[in-house]
């Protein structure tokens, strides 16, 4: 029932996230879900992957600070108020949620990742230029 999650310490510096993900990809490890917690100085990348031990080895060998945490994956009913209902139940049980994030889900054939950019317009321009398709807002709302 427990899921092993890998946490990686990241400096808040350009290229750090890319460097970690490159190591993971090179090792043939596939990411199932991820979340990034960040402050102005540093961040913590949390990953659920298909091969925890291999991923840990790769990251340790490349000199990263990593740890394994046990988490629970909970099925959330896919309707309005579904998540709120679960949180209510946890709250009634007096359980505190340290953090939470959504699994990368699939819209038809493609996974969808949500990004936040400092300069949205510049990001749209850059993504379009690279031929990367951006889902229209109404499509995201109806996922």
């Amino acid at each position: 029932m427990k899921v092993r999650q890998i946490s990686i310490f990241l400096e808040n510096r350009s290229g750090r996230l890319a460097s970690v993900l490159k190591e993971v990809g090179r090792a043939g490890v596939n990411i199932r879900a991820l979340s990034l917690a960040d402050t102005s100085d540093f961040g913590i990348l949390r990953l659920i992957v298909d091969n925890v031990d291999k991923c840990m080895k790769v990251l340790k060998d490349s000199g990263h600070t990593v740890s394994v945490t046990e988490v629970l994956a909970v099925e959330v009913p896919d309707h309005p108020g579904g998540l709120a209902g679960i949180l209510d139940a946890l709250s009634e049980a007096g359980l505190n949620v340290e953090y939470m994030y959504a699994f990368v889900c699939r819209a038809t054939e493609k996974a969808v990742v949500v990004f936040r950019f400092e300069d949205v317009n510049a990001a749209i321009a850059a993504l379009k230029k690279s031929g990367i398709s951006i889902l229209p807002a109404e499509v995201v709302y109806s996922l």
């Binding site: 946490s7 400096e11 402050t39 100085d41 540093f42 600070t65 990593v66 740890s67 340290e98 953090y99």
Partner: protein, 433 residues
């Protein structure tokens, strides 16, 4: 001149006085401080061998380590009932360097601090704003006693609360300012924000010290404040501020040689160097009673100027503005900081030796200190608030130990540059030369 008889004493007479005082000092140290006696016996020198000031070279050196080994009162040469004051400065291991004062010591120190103020033309008619910290640090109380000895009105502001400093400076008609040079610039900056025109105030001189500064800073201070900015030298082991001070010629700091005998040595060999050559500054405190100080290695790099007598008439030789340090000590906003102290704090927090780097800079007019700490597996937590708590804990302990507000930045392992053998611990980005 506050005491022309002493400050302008003919050189021949001064050397004779120094010789007599050195003999008495050597005898006091030999008779009452076991570590001095042992050190002198080791060198085969007895007090009766010390008759002239030139004989100082026969005596052994002492260092900050001697103070640490004799912590707290092992260097004291008088019974405790004769001690009327104790000061302390930060040391390399968290244990402070402790100095005691007899009534005569306090008197002599006040005399020298009064001479320092008079170097800038201060008299009994002046109001002296003392914005050095009051407390264990010798800056505040040292200048305070000096101002009172001069007969001037001492305004004991201590450091901080800049708006109030400026308000009282203006309302009280302050004429003399004592603080660190960077704080003088800070005062100028805040005054500008407050709309106070400092150039219209009756300020005439400033005794600035306790941290390294430059001619460029002097120029800036004199552009922003209507005063002559003078360099003052001292350290708690010697007494405190007032060991040497610039006169209005602004060409080196006159040492008050009837109390403090300066030498310049080669820091590697300990050999005395002639005037005009750069080396480590060594002081012998000729009149000190509570803690006799013989050939104390200050670790400050400077030279004794050999460009002839000074136009002001003082005969005490002049040392140049400090040119550096022989060790890795940093002076941040007037506070002594050793990298090993930072290391101690980090080791105590997690019991490990993390890699760290101290970055010192000067933003605007104030020194800043950042400490980068590599996050190892044992320090790492999966939760942001725990890492933030770790960062805050380091910040608080550094503040408690060093009295410096440092920005703590957690960084990834292996990101701090390593050189062969020894990791680089300090990056000083301040432009001081």
């Amino acid at each position: 001149m506050f005491n022309p008889q002493a400050e302008a004493m003919p050189v021949g007479e001064l050397r004779k006085l120094q010789g007599r005082r050195l003999h008495d000092l050597a005898k006091r140290a030999y008779d009452h401080v076991p570590s001095y006696r042992a050190r002198m016996q080791e060198k085969g020198v007895r007090p009766e061998d010390v008759r002239h000031i030139e004989d100082v070279a026969k005596l052994p050196f002492i260092t900050k380590t001697d103070f640490r080994d004799q912590y707290p009162f092992g260097m004291f040469a008088v019974p405790h009932q004769e001690i009327i004051r104790i000061h302390a400065s930060s040391g390399t291991t968290g244990k402070p360097t402790v100095v005691g004062y007899t009534r005569n010591d306090i008197d002599n120190w006040a005399e020298c601090a009064a001479r320092s103020l008079a170097c800038g033309g201060a008299t009994a008619a002046d109001t002296v704003q003392i914005a050095y910290g009051y407390g264990l640090f010798t800056g505040g109380l040292g200048m305070h006693y000096g101002a009172e000895r001069l007969g001037a009105a001492a305004l004991p502001m201590s450091s901080g609360n800049t708006e109030k400093q400026i308000m009282l400076m203006k309302d009280f008609g302050v004429t003399v300012l004592c603080c660190t040079p960077s704080y003088a610039l800070q005062i100028a900056e805040v005054a500008a924000q407050m709309g106070v025109d400092l150039m219209k105030l009756p300020l005439k001189s400033g005794n600035f010290g306790a941290e390294p500064w430059t001619e460029a800073m002097r120029k800036r201070i004199e552009e922003l404040l209507p005063l002559k900015a003078l360099d003052i030298y001292g350290m708690s082991e010697l007494a405190g501020p007032g060991v040497a001070n610039e006169c209005l010629e602004q060409n080196g700091l006159h040492v008050f040689e009837d109390h403090f005998y300066p030498e310049i040595i080669d820091p590697a060999t300990g050999e005395p160097l002639p005037d005009g050559q750069k080396g480590e500054l060594v002081f012998t405190c000729l009149t000190k009673e509570a803690v006799p100080l013989i050939r104390y290695r200050t670790r400050d790099i400077t030279m004794i100027l050999d460009d002839g007598p000074c136009a002001c008439g003082r005969t005490g030789r002049r040392i140049r503005r400090l040119m550096g340090r022989t060790d890795d000590m940093l002076i941040i906003r007037g506070v002594n900081v050793f990298p090993s102290q930072v290391e101690d704090v980090l080791v105590r927090i997690e019991g490990v030796h993390p890699q760290y780097l101290i970055i010192v800079d000067r933003q605007g007019n104030l020194d800043t200190m950042e400490i980068k700490v590599e996050v190892t597996d044992s320090l790492f937590s999966d939760e942001v608030r725990k890492l933030e708590a770790l960062r805050d804990k380091i910040h608080h302990q550094i503040k408690a130990m060093l009295n410096v507000n440092a920005k703590i930045t957690l960084v990834e392992p292996k990101t701090i540059e390593r050189t062969l053998g020894k990791a680089k611990r300090v990056q000083d980005l301040r432009k001081l030369t």
